[in-house]
């Protein structure tokens, strides 16, 4: 029982990380209907940025905030400079652009920071909180931060004029433009937010998987799975999906087939959910007119 509880809790912790990257995917999907394959690499690059700041002597939380801010701006710049020109291109061209971004980020990170594995500090104490035996402080902290980000995003989209404008631009670009919403900038803001949320995910996952240019490849697949399970257009679904995927991954790995087929679990999960509900558990079903 104790081992079981341990598996569930640590699954919950990794699930929190999948959830925050899935949240970033949902951000971009909601504003542009694209799935950003480069999201993981962007988060990885942000994490390197934080690592450089911390190594330069900046205190952890300042480095954290600074990285989030820089990532936000960088996300906007990427949308304006690279994504904008292919906005109306076919899906496949856009996917190719994302793949190009992915390899560029990966390669440049390896070039600047080398491929040697680095440790990344955790802001949380090493001792488990409240003397519990099941979950480390970092894991608990990761869950807390993910939930905090989710709440902040909810408040932003629900209660601020800018959030309303962003939702409007995503839902009906033409009418939004007519009432004076600058749709292009709203998309850019969506990218900025996604990059910022992604950077948080990167900094949370780095103490667990260590910092290296390929650290996100596994995480990104689970984040995809999470976003799809929850419904790609629903932030709450994505976060819930993240936790579900994290727990299932751990339980199935520990009790059913062993760790060597963990990725296959993600595959089966994705296909299984999509077979039953093609738009995810909480996704909206769009009815198109013939």
């Amino acid at each position: 029982m104790e081992a079981f509880l341990h598996q569930v809790l640590s699954g919950l912790a990794t699930g929190g990380i999948y959830a925050s990257l899935a949240l970033a995917l949902v951000m971009i999907y909601r504003s542009t209907s694209h799935i950003n394959f480069a999201q993981g690499e962007m988060a990885m690059f942000s994490t390197y940025l934080a690592w450089s700041l911390i190594n330069a002597g900046v205190p952890y939380w300042w480095a954290f905030l600074l990285t989030v801010a820089i990532s936000f701006v960088a996300g906007i710049v990427i949308e304006r400079v690279i994504i904008r020109p292919v906005e109306h291109a076919p899906v496949l061209s856009i996917i190719t652009v994302f793949i190009a971004l992915l390899v560029i980020f990966n390669s440049v990170a390896g070039w600047i920071f080398t491929y040697t594995i680095k440790t990344f500090p955790s802001p949380f104490p090493e001792q488990p909180l409240f003397g519990n035996r099941f979950i480390s402080s970092h894991e608990l902290g990761a869950i807390g931060i993910t939930l905090a980000v989710l709440v902040m995003l909810y408040l932003f989209f629900r209660f601020t004029p800018l959030g309303l404008a962003m939702r409007a631009a995503a839902q009906n670009p033409v009418s939004s433009r007519l009432v004076g919403v600058r749709v292009g900038w709203m998309l850019a803001l969506g990218w900025g937010l996604a990059a910022a949320v992604g950077s948080v995910a990167g900094m949370l996952v780095a103490p667990i998987v260590y910092l290296e240019p390929n650290m996100m490849s596994g995480v990104l697949l689970y984040a995809f799975a999470a976003a799809l399970v929850g419904g790609i257009d629903n932030p709450f679904g994505a976060v819930l999906g993240g936790f579900v995927v994290g727990i299932l991954e751990n339980l199935v790995g520990a009790y059913v087939i062993g760790t060597e087929l963990k990725l296959t679990v993600a595959l089966v999960l994705i296909i299984g959910v999509l077979l039953v509900k093609p738009t995810g558990l909480f996704g909206k079903v769009f009815v198109t007119r013939v």
């Binding site: 694209h34 899906v91 440049v108 490849s217 799809l228 093609p278």
Partner: protein, 342 residues
């Protein structure tokens, strides 16, 4: 290739006819050059061009699925891997001759592709891309799985012996394999071209462009879509088997998700829904990484990414679309044809 000559007025009728003659001459010349090639360049280059031919088969298969039928697959590396492993296992454990493994590899992949096509029926666009991508990512793990290690050789993979040229021909094994691959390429491309130019091809394009209208016209879209998945996997499986024979080695880690992504890049760069695009795409994925490596040893993939961006920006319809446009400008034909036509 299948530029319609009927019912377009006299001028275009003439233009169509002479264009056809030119195309036939061009194709014959290309084929002659392709046959002569292995006797003119070093054996390493022969190997590289052999890989180009193999990739061209994959890209044609992927293009049938993604370009013509509109189902995005980021998982064709998995079918390529299945084809390669079928060939390797048959040669290693059953003692089959290398040429006999190709049909089996193709058929096995057809079955897998068809089965994967069934759940894929419910998915569209990005969702399908992700589901197939998951397949590609999971493939190396499945191949390493310890209960099938006896057959697959686990992490070590399987080493294959390179076949010699038959009939006492005085050519090197590399040159023979190249010519063998070339013959398969001709067969596969003629088959693919015949499939796409007629009724089936029109049905595929109709499903891609307007699924509901296609259904209304009596196209059984579920059947066509799953069969297309199967046929596409068949092409890829044959290419995978050829790849295994030419490289003489299969191992789980040669079939990563990167391979599948490369295939998709190949068809986008070559030209979506274009048969000749398969060759341009194959040249790109075989040679551009090497070229990028020569430019910058430190960050070759960054250079590769920049190349990708440049191609997408400058040639939005792929190299094939660009070539077609340039050809028409040269011949002074003002009209710009539908970019989706071959």
């Amino acid at each position: 290739m299948s530029e319609g000559v009927k019912g377009k007025g006299e001028r275009s009728c003439d233009a169509g006819l002479s264009a056809r003659v030119w195309k036939a001459i061009g194709l014959a010349a290309l084929l002659c050059a392709a046959v002569a090639l292995p006797f003119l360049v070093s054996s390493y280059r022969v190997f590289q061009f052999n890989m180009v031919l193999i990739y061209a088969i994959v890209l044609l298969g992927l293009n049938i699925l993604t370009g013509y039928n509109g189902q995005i697959s980021l998982g064709h590396g998995a079918f390529y891997a299945i084809g390669a492993y079928v060939a390797a296992i048959l040669m290693e454990h059953m003692g089959w001759p290398y040429w006999a493994t190709l049909p089996v590899a193709g058929l096995t992949c057809f079955v897998f592709g068809f089965l994967f096509g069934l759940p894929a029926l419910r998915l569209r666009g990005h969702y399908l891309a992700l589901a197939t991508f998951a397949l590609a990512v999971a493939m190396p793990q499945i191949l390493k799985y310890k209960h099938i290690e006896h057959w697959t050789g686990g992490v070590q993979g399987i080493v294959i012996i390179k076949p010699e040229a038959p009939f006492g021909l005085k050519i090197t094994p590399d040159q023979w394999l190249y010519l063998f691959t070339l013959a398969i390429v001709v067969v596969m491309f003629v088959a693919g071209w015949n499939l796409l130019r007629g009724r089936v091809g029109r049905a595929l394009v109709a499903i891609r462009d307007h699924p509901i209208a296609a259904e209304a016209m009596g196209v059984n879209s579920a059947l066509y879509k799953t069969l297309t998945f199967g046929v596409s996997a068949l092409f890829t499986g044959v290419a995978g088997a050829l790849g295994a024979i030419v490289i003489q080695f299969v191992a789980p880690d040669s079939f990563t998700a990167g391979l599948s992504i490369n295939f998709l890049i190949g068809i986008v760069i070559g030209g979506i829904a274009s048969i000749s695009g398969a060759f341009y795409g194959a040249l790109f994925i075989q040679f551009v990484p090497n070229f990028a490596d020569q430019i910058s040893k430190a960050a070759p993939w960054a250079i590769y990414g920049v190349f990708l961006l440049t191609f997408v920006y400058l040639m939005p319809t792929g190299v094939a679309g660009f070539v077609r446009l340039a050809w028409m400008r040269m011949r002074g034909i003002g009209r710009i044809s539908d970019p989706h036509r071959v």
